[in-house]
């Protein structure tokens, strides 16, 4: 199977190897094409964003105002902080020049003179690797002012790396822009969307690292080639990061639509001790978990996963065997969202805290039966009531874990637990659905 983003070529991270394999030739040919032509190719290729929402990349680009008269920006999202997601670091480490070439082509397509590559702060090593690749590309004239002469064009662009500092929320596109602008990483209210009002108020396109790394091959080999790979509605390969209870965890680049069971059992080597699978989170921690006994036939692409009651997310597959305590898993996940909630919207700031308290109470063996429904109620009151999708990201695991694994929770609660009423969360356990009487 052909690998598009992470081809198996030794030392591809070195500029010499990359150039020897035809690297930066595509940028040259792309720069000879008009911006409309490139957007059209990407649109027809069917490429969809790899950062979670799986939105059509070409369509996103077409939303940006046309022409080179106004300042526009490109942001590349390498914040990669979703638990279970560790694919972008492979691109930084093994194929950084394809990413840089993709950035150059994208800048040309949307007429952006400046691109900011946002990499999470913990990735010190990968930031250094990426900076080295970028310095090499500058030195050879593939990026920056010198590219005019190199490619024989009057277009040039600069690429800067912006280092994050440990905030999951900065993977949200508007929060990422605030972070680049030197502010707290609060998400912005949308609309206006970044394609109209983005970085410093200028039209801005934000794409995931993996998405941009797909651009050079698409331009080089054509949209017909790309759109024929994998599932028609979500074509191309995806970087699947498999973690948890598998024998060979790691990143596997496979065509979209590959069977989930195929990935787990064939590529990732199955479950240690041949244990049964209790639960799989198929797209990074925010996506609804699937039951281990319902994995047969599930294909890994946006449409198939939606039909199966989950979502593709970032393709981070977390496998949990039959001995896993799902209540503990959920308590830990909820702690993550509580920690990472930016605090801007009340439902998320307060709700994530409540969920952690309730779940920890169940883990301690002090949970009552009504706590389970209270959890669902709190989650449902976060969902849809926040500025950004972190609300859903925090609520979905709770809501779906409880709906799909209710027996796991019921095993750990009891009606005989008596807790003194110390605060509102405690007092609310008396009613099954405390907010049922509140209209809207």
């Amino acid at each position: 199977m052909e690998k598009i983003v992470l081809p198996e070529i030794e030392n591809l991270h070195l500029i010499d190897t990359y150039v020897a394999n035809g690297g930066y030739d595509t940028a040259k040919s792309a720069l000879a094409k008009s911006s409309d032509e490139i957007i059209d190719i990407v649109k027809k290729s069917g490429l969809r964003g790899r950062g979670g929402a799986a939105f059509s990349t070409g369509l996103k680009w077409s939303f940006i105002p046309k022409g080179s008269g106004i300042t526009k920006y490109l942001c590349i999202n390498g914040d990669e902080s979703e638990p279970g997601s560790f694919k972008d670091r492979q691109v930084f480490e093994f194929n950084p020049h394809q990413l840089i070439e993709g950035i150059v082509i994208t800048c040309h397509a949307i007429h952006a003179k400046k691109a900011y590559l946002y990499i999470r702060g913990e990735y010190h090593k990968w930031i250094k690797l990426m900076q080295k690749a970028l310095d090499d590309a500058y030195e050879r004239g593939f990026v920056g002012e010198a590219m005019k002469a190199k490619y024989g064009t009057d277009f040039s662009c600069d690429i800067y790396i912006h280092k994050g500092a440990g905030a999951y929320i900065c993977g949200e596109e508007s929060s990422l822009m605030n972070s680049i602008e030197g502010k707290r990483g609060y998400p912005r209210v949308k609309p206006p969307f970044p394609a109209q009002v983005g970085l410093w108020g200028a039209p801005t396109i934000i794409n995931n690292v993996e998405t941009i790394a797909n651009i050079p091959p698409i331009i080089k080999k054509g949209w017909e080639w790309f759109s024929a790979i994998g599932e028609q509605k979500h074509p191309g390969t995806l970087l699947f990061g498999v973690s948890g209870h598998v024998n060979k965890p790691g990143v596997y680049e496979l065509p979209s639509g590959t069977l989930l069971t195929d990935i787990i059992y064939n590529y990732a080597g199955g479950v240690p001790g041949n244990k049964k699978i209790k639960c799989v989170i198929p797209g990074g921690s925010s996506m609804p978990p699937l039951r281990g006994d319902q994995l047969e036939g599930i294909k890994m692409d946006a449409e198939s996963l939606r039909a199966a009651g989950s979502a593709i997310g970032t393709g981070g597959i977390m496998v949990m065997d039959e001995d896993t305590d799902l209540v503990k898993v959920l308590a830990r996940l909820s702690k993550f969202y509580y920690h990472e909630s930016c605090g801007q919207c009340t439902p998320c700031r307060e709700g994530t805290g409540w969920m952690v308290k309730l779940l920890n109470r169940i883990v301690r063996g002090e949970g009552s039966k009504s706590d389970i429904d209270l959890l669902v109620s709190v989650a449902s009151n976060i969902e849809g009531n926040t500025v950004c999708a972190l609300g859903e990201a925090a609520a979905w695991p709770v809501r779906f874990m409880i709906t799909r694994f209710r027996d796991e929770f019921e095993k750990q609660v009891s009606d005989h637990v008596k807790l003194e009423v110390k605060n509102k969360v405690h007092s609310m356990r008396a009613t099954l659905n405390p907010l049922a009487s509140v209209e809207n």
Binding site: R89, E122, G182, R184, L333
Partner: protein
């Protein structure tokens, strides 16, 4: 205690500011520089940065408090970060955290009395495929067992 950027860092600052159309955007890179130079970010450092970037001191503080990698207090020479998020947890991350905690004799967020170690339970570091992991300052140590984690601590001086 006064804070001034070193001459070398002042040159870096010039170059960093050039990367952005507005000065304020340089606040995170400058905070990193201050932290590198001084070990943590002091009130004086924030004041200095606010003057360089012509932005209110409170906004600098706002940025510092928002991001978990900016430290307002001294941390150990070796800052030990243990991931206990799900992928690591499934492969023994919690046990490693407990072992490190008892080995160092400190709790999450504390510094040993000799200032050699500090401990932080961190959220997902992107090492899910090589879990469990710890990070010592900027370096990742992956595919660990509790024993290996303790060995690493023993090797740090």
């Amino acid at each position: 205690m006064e804070f001034k950027f070193s001459v070398e860092n002042q040159e870096k600052i010039e170059r960093i500011i050039q990367k952005y159309p507005e000065k304020q955007a340089a606040v995170m890179p400058l905070l990193y520089l201050a932290q590198e130079q001084h070990g943590f970010i002091s009130v004086e450092a924030m004041r200095e940065i606010s003057q360089i970037l012509e932005m209110p001191e409170t906004d600098v503080l706002g940025v510092v408090t928002f991001y978990s990698m900016f430290h307002q207090k001294e941390i150990g020479k070796h800052h030990i970060q243990v991931c206990t998020n799900v992928s690591c947890m499934l492969r023994g991350g919690m046990q490693i955290f407990d072992a490190v905690k008892s080995k160092l004799g400190i709790n999450n967020g504390e510094v040993t009395s000799d200032k050699l170690f500090s401990l932080e339970e961190v959220e997902c570091m992107g090492s899910c495929g090589t879990a469990p992991m710890i990070a010592v300052n900027e370096d990742y140590f992956e595919n660990l067992s509790t024993e290996k984690a303790i060995e690493i601590l023993n090797s740090l001086k």
